[in-house]
């Protein structure tokens, strides 16, 4: 988890995410569902 919430932005470390985005999930597929907290009521 500490890597997810990094303290300092590192473009080199994050670059694969930009490059891999087009290969991750596609239109026409089912959107994965996750519980999200409402800022107003959470």
């Amino acid at each position: 988890m500490s890597d997810y919430n990094y303290a300092v932005f590192d473009m080199k470390a994050e670059a694969p995410n930009f490059q891999g985005f087009s290969a991750n999930l596609h239109v026409g597929e089912r959107a994965p569902d996750f519980p999200l907290e409402d800022l107003e009521s959470g």
Binding site: A7, F21, L39
Partner: protein, 137 residues
Amino acid sequence: MDAIADRFSDRAVRSVFIYTREAHPGELYRHHTSMAGKREIARALRSVVGLKRQVLLDALDGPAHQAYGLLPNMTWIFSHGGLILYKSAWTDPDDVAEPLTRALDGLERRVKGDNLPFYSERLSWRVRDDETFRALL
């Protein structure tokens, strides 16, 4: 995007802002170490930016964010049934409006049985705005 949400509100479109992680943590808005801290920064973001849409928070370790690609400013459009209709690596209101209109029109025509969906991809462009970026750090 609040303007887009307003524009399409009469077509049963729900637009939300999902707060994930601080992409560029700094002195004012640090990286998240607790949900309480994350909520506090999300409230500050909502106030500073003037967000009108509903703000939802991903869990602290970002499971939704990770599943959807980990990019800092994505936009996704889903049908009411949960199908992905549009995905974008960047949020650009002008880029969202046209596919959203086509998706809504297409879904309405599909109910009538006179059209079929097809897959497409495109490359879009945005204007670089370093001034706004630095102001929000």
